[in-house]
Amino acid sequence: MNYFPDEVLEHVFDFVTSSRDRNALSQVCKSWYRIESSSRQKVFIGNCYAISPERVIERFPALKSIALKGKPHFADFNLVPHEWGGFVYPWIEAFARNRVGLEELRLKRMVVSDDSLELLSRSFANFKSLVLVSCEGFTTDGLAAIAANCRCLRELDLQENEVEDHRGHWLSCFHDSHTSLVSLNFACLKGDINLGVLERLVARSPNLRSLRLNRAVPFDTLQKILMQSPNLVDLGVGSYVHDPDSETYDKLVTAIEKCKSVRSLSGFLDVAPHCLPAFHSICPNLTSLNLSYAPGIQGGELTKLIRHCRKLQRLWILDCIGDKGLEVVASTCKDLQELRVFPSDPYIGHAAVTEEGLVAISSGCPKLHSILYFCQQMTNAALITVAKNCPNFIRFRLCILDPTKPDAVTQQPLDEGFGAIVHSCRGLRRLSLTGLLTDQVFLYIGMYAEQLEMLSIAFAGDSDKGMQYVLNGCKRLRKLEIRDSPFGNGALLMDVGKYEAMRSLWMSSCEVTLGGCKTLAKKMPRLNVEIMNENEQTDFIFDDAQKVDKMYLYRTLAGQRKDAPDFVWTL
C-alpha cells in the first residue's frame, strides 16, 4: 500500500464516506492520516467544545460540510440552564475568516443568532444546505437573510426549533430566479406565511422533493401546491381542515393520487379526521409516517389510516393509538424498523399504552431495531418476550411515566427484563431505562452490552456499584447521562481515564460532591469538568463536601471554554 501514489489512495478513500470509517483510516499510519485529512470534505463534531474551529480548519482544508452538536442531551428536558452555551457564531466567523468553501451546515442543540445566519449567508458563495435541529436564538429575520443571499440554496430544513416569528416576509426573500430548492421544511414556525409567495416558490422549484408546511398553510393551498409538485417524496401537511363534500377536497384527492413518489408523510398539525381518506391512495407507498404532532387523529381514524400503510418502516405516533391500535400496526406493518410512541398528555398523567402494545409490536415486526416507547407500565415478562422476538435492537428507549414503577404484575424491579434485552440484543448501541431498577440491572449492562454507546439513567440504582459496573463493562461507551441516582465519588473516580475515551458524562441530582469533581479535574487536565449550581455561589466553592447539583464533563482539546456564563464553573 505504501507504493500507491497519493492520488490513488485519495480516490480509494472517496468511497469511504462515514465519519467513523474515515476516522479509522486516519489512524492507520502517518501518510494515510495526511491524505485522509487533506481530502475529507464532511466532518462531524459531536461536541462543539471538544475542539476549536481553527484546529478543524487546519486539519481538514477541503472542508465543505460540517455537523455540530452543542448542548448536552438533557438540555431537551430543561435540565441545562438556559444560557449554558453552544453558540455557533465563532464557528461561522472562523470559517468565513479562513475562506472555507462551506456548502453544508447541520446544527443540533445550538444557539444560532440572526447575526450568525446573516454572516453565514454572506460568506459562502456555494452554500447549499442548512439543517437546524432543536436550535434557538434566531428569528425569521435570520431566515430572510438566508433566503435572500444564498443563491445556490437547495435545502432549508428547520426541525423543532424555537424561532421568534416576525411574520412571513422571509419567504418573499427568495429571489424570482431562485429555482434550485430541493428541500424546504418550516413546520416549526408559528407565524403566518404569505401563501401566494409560497405557491410561486413551489411553482418555480422543479427539483423540490421535500416540503413540510406549518400550521398557517391551509387546505386549499395544500391542494394547489400538490398539483404543482407531483414529484414530492416527503410531505409535511400543515393545517388539514376542510369540508369533505367540497370541490376543493375532490381536487385534493386528484392531486394526491398523482403524487406517486411520496414515501414520507408527517404534520397534520390541525386536522379534521374525516378528510384523511384523501391520503389513502398514497398510504400503500409510505415508508415513513409521523403523526406524533397530530393529536386530533384518534382511535378508529388512526387505525384506518395505518391499515393502508403496509410498507411502513418508520412510524412515530401518539399513545392514543392504544394497545389495540399497536396490534393493528403489528399485523399491518411487517417491515417496521423504527417505532416511537409519544405521550399525548406530556404532564404526569396517564399513558394510553402498556406492555401489551410493546409485546404485540415485537411479535408482529421482527425487523424492529429502534424503539422509543412512553408507557403507563411494564413487566419483566413482557421485556423478556420482546428481547426474544426482536434480537436486532440497536436503540431501545423505554419511558414509564412513573419512573420508579416496578413490574406491574409482580412488583419486582425491572432488572431481569432489561437484562434480557441487553443479553439478547448484542448490537444494542443506545439504551434508556426507567422503572424500579437496582444495581443488578447495571451488572447485566456491564456484562452484556458490549456495543453500547449511549446510556440514559434516571431514578435508578442503589449504590456506586451500579455506575461502576457500567464504566467497567461497556467498552464502547461514549455518552453517559444520569439524573437523580445514588452514584457518588466512588463511582466517579473509579476509572478517570475512561472519560477520555468518552464524549461526555452528565450527572445531576446524584451523590457526587464538589471535592470529587475537583479531584477528577485535577487528575485529568484534558477534560472540562463543568459544575452548574443554581444556589448561592459564594459559600459553594469552599465546601468540598457539598453535593453538586449538575455536572457535565467532556473531553476536549480546546481547554476551558471562554464563553461559559456565571453559573457554570469549570474546575
Partner: protein, 215 residues
C-alpha cells in the same frame, strides 16, 4: 454460561410470593446475590425516590394534595401505581421536549354538546384565556341558546337557558367556573351545555344524552 430465560420466567409469574424468589431467574454470575430486602425495601442509602423529588417541587399545588400523599411511607415508592394526585411536575419529567409539549397543548380541542341541538361542535380551549371568552364563543356557536355563566348572569334570547358543565379527567361532571382557568383547560375533556331544569342545584354525575366517547 447459558442462562435460562424466557418461558420459565413466565410460568413462575403465577407462583405465590414465597416461591417466586426461589424460582426467580437471574443472568448474574454464580455467587452474586441480592437480598430480598434490597428489592422490596424502600429507599436504599441516600437515593432520592421519585415521589420525594416530586414533593420538592410541589408549590402552590400543595393545597390540592391530600395529606395521605405527603405522609406516604418510603415503602410506598414501590407500590405506587398512580402518580401523585396533584399532578406535580418534576423538572424534566417525563422526558419530552418543550417543543412537543407546546404542540400538544395548543391542540386542546374538546367536543361541545348542547342539550337539544342535533350536532356537536369542537372548540380549541387553548384559543381562549378566560371563562368569559369561552362562553361568549360558545354563545356565538350556538346562537339560538343562551348560556347561564358561572356568575349566574343570564342573557335570555328565546327563553331557553343552559348551564355550562364539563367532564374532567376523572370522569366527573363539573360546573364551569370553580377552578382557575388554566387548571380547567388542562383537566377538561369535553363540554356539555345542560338544560337548566336538569342541572337544578346539582352538578350532574352522569350525563344522559352524551355522544360516544371515541376521539
Amino acid at each position: 454460561m447459558s442462562p435460562e430465560i424466557g418461558t420459565h420466567q413466565l410460568e413462575s409469574d403465577t407462583a405465590g410470593d414465597m416461591n417466586f424468589k426461589e424460582t426467580e431467574l437471574t443472568l448474574a454470575l454464580p455467587g452474586e446475590s441480592r437480598t430480598l430486602k434490597e428489592m422490596n425495601g424502600g429507599k436504599i442509602g441516600t437515593k432520592r425516590g421519585f415521589l420525594e423529588t416530586v414533593d420538592l417541587n410541589l408549590g402552590s399545588l400543595r393545597a390540592d394534595c391530600s395529606d395521605k400523599d405527603r405522609n406516604e411511607s418510603e415503602n410506598d415508592v414501590l407500590t405506587a401505581a398512580k402518580p401523585p394526585a396533584a399532578k406535580a411536575q418534576v423538572v424534566g419529567w417525563p422526558p419530552v421536549r418543550d417543543y412537543r409539549k407546546n404542540a400538544m397543548k395548543s391542540c386542546k380541542y374538546v367536543k361541545v354538546a348542547v342539550d337539544g341541538a342535533p350536532y356537536l361542535r369542537k372548540v380549541n380551549l387553548e384559543m381562549y384565556n378566560s371563562y368569559e371568552q369561552l362562553l361568549s364563543a360558545l354563545e356565538d356557536m350556538f346562537s339560538c341558546f343562551t348560556i347561564r355563566n358561572y356568575l349566574n348572569e343570564r342573557k335570555m334570547v328565546n327563553g331557553v337557558e343552559n348551564v355550562p358543565t364539563y367532564e374532567d379527567k376523572d370522569g366527573d361532571w363539573m360546573m364551569l367556573g370553580d377552578v382557575p382557568w388554566k387548571m380547567f383547560v388542562e383537566s377538561c375533556k369535553r363540554l356539555r351545555l345542560m338544560k337548566s331544569s336538569e342541572a337544578n342545584g346539582l352538578a350532574p354525575r352522569t350525563p344522559s344524552k352524551c355522544s360516544s366517547t371515541s376521539g
